[in-house]
Amino acid sequence: MKNIDDKTKRKIILAGGVVISIMLIAMIGSQFQNSNTSDLKILNQENQASNVNVDSAGKEEIKVEDIEITGQELTDNGSIDTGTEQKIQGDVSEKTDYTQKQLTDSTQKPNGEKVESATSVEHNGVANQQTPYKETDTVQGGTTNSKGQTYLPGFGWVENSGENQGEIAEDMYENGNKIGEMD
């Protein structure tokens, strides 16, 4: 390195820096490419000015396809509605009791799930995995099926009813004359 003069050193450092920065941009940028939703663009008002069409009289009627709503038909739930000891629902299933043998068998979890090699974790080092809601969706939101329906978490498969109907309200702006009250 002693044979390299300062000018050459600077060039090497600069070249190295450029390479590193390109790699970083590529790596960070790749984190955003797998997003399930495309980023939305904020409306550019100037570019939309030619699309003025406030009259909605001739608008086609929007037809919405029926959707399949996944849900269970509930019957009575074990509640008690008489006497002075009432319950709004039946008793909740108790936690399962496991035997000492089940609790010390490293080859499988007490619930029977096989484990190849149990990895020990300190009691206080267990990461919080808690989710308070019960997961009922078996399909990832946004998934499209062979019928062209899209999955909405909580509801199920929904038909796409068509293009949006966006219009510019050209005459909507403040003129400074305040005629209403709001509090």
Partner: protein, 564 residues
């Protein structure tokens, strides 16, 4: 070496700045700028600053009727892959309209000049700018035009604008447009998953973007916290609402009833409270005690996840005499209630039957009155959180080839939904003893009979009471002064009601006598069927049926000499 380090640092800073910034909502809903999510699923749940709007609904002040289809105003152009719930206002949802998802065909307007920021990412609202915008003449003229409402009519003081903030957010990978009320209802549909992932937007910044400082249109002013995620119940009742009124019209302050509940004597009823605060689960359950006239009712299995709430109710029978009683409510374990003492008024509707009609009754000044709008509610919905234990096994080693499994699990909750739906019908007919009735036409002064049939369907029969009372009102009393409490002649799930036996009837028939002075024309009876109780209040229906009056009882009599 220093120069090398400096150069590398500079390169790193520049390259970092080149990366586009997106606002993510991850896990507990931290919506702050600065950097992208970490961990699982971060890009699936996000909201960006500026992705907001307002739903505007024109409402008639006198009866709170929604008179035009609501419109959505926003500065963005949502994609056609957006889910939404149609153009339904908070008023309509509060009238038992249910949530219905739609994909695409989202109708919106982009004002040529952007609307003010509706939802601040910092959590505070932008209410002064919003007020200034939506009370502006030109903005209101444009709203009138877009909704098809005549501007002069809109601002004449008989109508109001109901505003609701809208958020456009990505939840579990799909983009959704919702008002605060819709977000609260959708959260129930997802068992709380929406609130968990995007609560800072859907349950904090969105609902707190607008709320009433003065009660109006049946909604009370919000006096609760201005920070923190709100419960679904709070959002549905109080939040995500603004109201514009015109011509100096005063806000219509909600009627504050002296009583929390009004029941009838000898009736099976339901009294409900909402429990919230902390988390109620089988390890730390909330138990609600109702002290009613000396009897203490304990209600158990009341569970809810952290940050949410649960309705708890007790079913009991009112005493047989009219009175006012205080119901004291307390919660043991986690949770609390907003009001620990409820005022209950118990009335007897069988104290005001019509007087005995006589032949020389007269009423020359009679004018037909319109039938009053009595409270009507034909469907009630409620839900119950049900917990279940989610096991999470972790191996703790205690030495070589020894250790034990430890359950680090937690309680998860699913929301079960229930409903009750009331249907009823009534018919009146000429009394069987009427000698001159022809079909549905009769002379005044004769009696009529009535039959009311009702039916209640529910998927939680233990949480409802079937209709127990029906009250009939008559045109000769302007549907007010006197009434008849009907008798339930058949009980059960499909009860039947008829007039009580009339003590003034020669045959003691189930009869109501029309007044002999009743003018010719339509004779309409109004019956209010009530006292079908649910955890979400009382179901009731207004029914009517008519006969035709032609002539009077005097026409059937004549005076003639005996055996001339």
């Amino acid at each position: 070496m220093k120069q090398v380090v400096k150069a590398l640092m500079l390169i790193l800073i520049i390259s970092t700045l080149l990366v586009p910034m997106t606002v993510f909502a991850v896990g507990d809903g931290n919506i702050d700028s600065g950097g992208g999510g970490t961990g699982q699923g971060t890009s699936k749940n996000k909201w960006s600053v500026g992705y907001d709007g307002v739903r505007v609904t024109v409402v008639r002040a006198s009866d709170h009727a929604v008179v035009t289809i609501p419109i959505d105003l926003t500065n963005i152009k949502p994609p056609s892959t957006i889910f939404h719930f149609g153009k339904v206002s908070k008023l309509q949802y509060n009238s038992e309209v249910r949530l219905r998802p739609i994909l695409g065909v989202y109708a919106y307007f982009n004002p040529a000049k952007p609307i003010p920021t509706i939802i601040n990412k910092s959590g505070g609202n932008n209410i002064e700018a919003i007020k200034s915008y939506f009370i502006d003449e030109q903005v209101i003229r444009s709203i009138a035009s877009l909704t098809g409402m005549n501007f002069n009519m809109l601002v004449n003081g008989e109508y109001k604008l109901l505003l609701e903030p809208i958020a456009y957010y990505t939840f579990e990978g799909v983009m959704i447009a919702s008002t605060a009320t819709e977000a609260a209802m959708y959260d129930e549909q997802t068992n709380g998953k929406l609130r968990y992932n995007l609560g800072t937007i859907t349950h904090q910044n969105l609902p707190l973007a607008m709320f009433l400082e003065t009660g109006d249109l049946g909604y009370s002013a919000w006096s609760g916290a201005l920070h923190g995620k709100r419960t679904n119940q709070e959002i549905k009742i109080y939040l995500g609402i603004g109201i514009v009124r015109f011509k100096g019209e005063e806000p219509e302050v909600p009627v504050i009833s002296t009583y929390d509940y009004k029941y009838r004597v000898g009736t099976d009823v339901i009294t409900a409270v909402t429990v919230s605060g902390g988390q109620s689960n089988p390890d730390n359950p909330a138990q609600v005690k109702f002290d009613i006239a000396g009897a203490v009712y304990t209600v158990g299995n009341v569970y809810y996840p952290s940050g949410d709430s649960q309705i708890a109710w007790v079913k009991w029978r009112t005493p047989s005499t009219p009175q006012e009683i205080k119901v004291t409510v307390s919660v043991q374990g986690s949770g609390s209630i907003a009001k620990s003492q409820l005022s209950v008024k118990i009335v007897d509707l069988d104290k005001n039957p019509p007087p005995n009609p006589v032949a020389d009754d007269k009423n020359a000044s009679f004018i037909n009155a319109s039938i009053p709008q009595r409270i009507e509610k034909t469907r009630a919905d409620w839900s119950i959180w049900k917990p279940w234990w989610h096991e999470y096994w972790v191996w703790h080693s205690t030495g070589k080839n020894s250790g034990y499994w430890c359950d680090h699990g937690w309680w998860e909750f699913e929301l079960n939904r229930y409903y009750a739906s009331l249907s009823a019908d009534m018919s009146i007919k000429c009394d069987d003893k009427n000698p001159t009735a022809k079909g549905r036409t009769m002379k005044s002064g004769y009696g009529i009979n009535e039959t009311v049939t009702a039916s209640l369907s529910s998927n939680q029969s233990s949480a409802v009471t079937y209709p127990q009372n029906a009250v009939s009102y008559f045109p000769e009393f302007q549907y007010m002064t006197y009434w008849r409490l009907l008798e339930r002649t058949q009980g059960g799930t499909a009860p039947i009601f008829e007039f009580q036996k009339n003590k003034y009837s020669t045959y003691k028939n189930r009869t109501h006598f029309t007044p002999i002075w009743m003018p010719d024309g339509k004779y309409t009876v109004n019956t209010w069927i009530i006292d079908s109780w649910t955890p979400s209040g009382m179901l009731a229906m207004n029914l009517t049926d008519s006969l035709t009056i032609k002539g009077s009882l005097w026409d059937d009599w004549h005076i003639a000499p005996l055996n001339p």
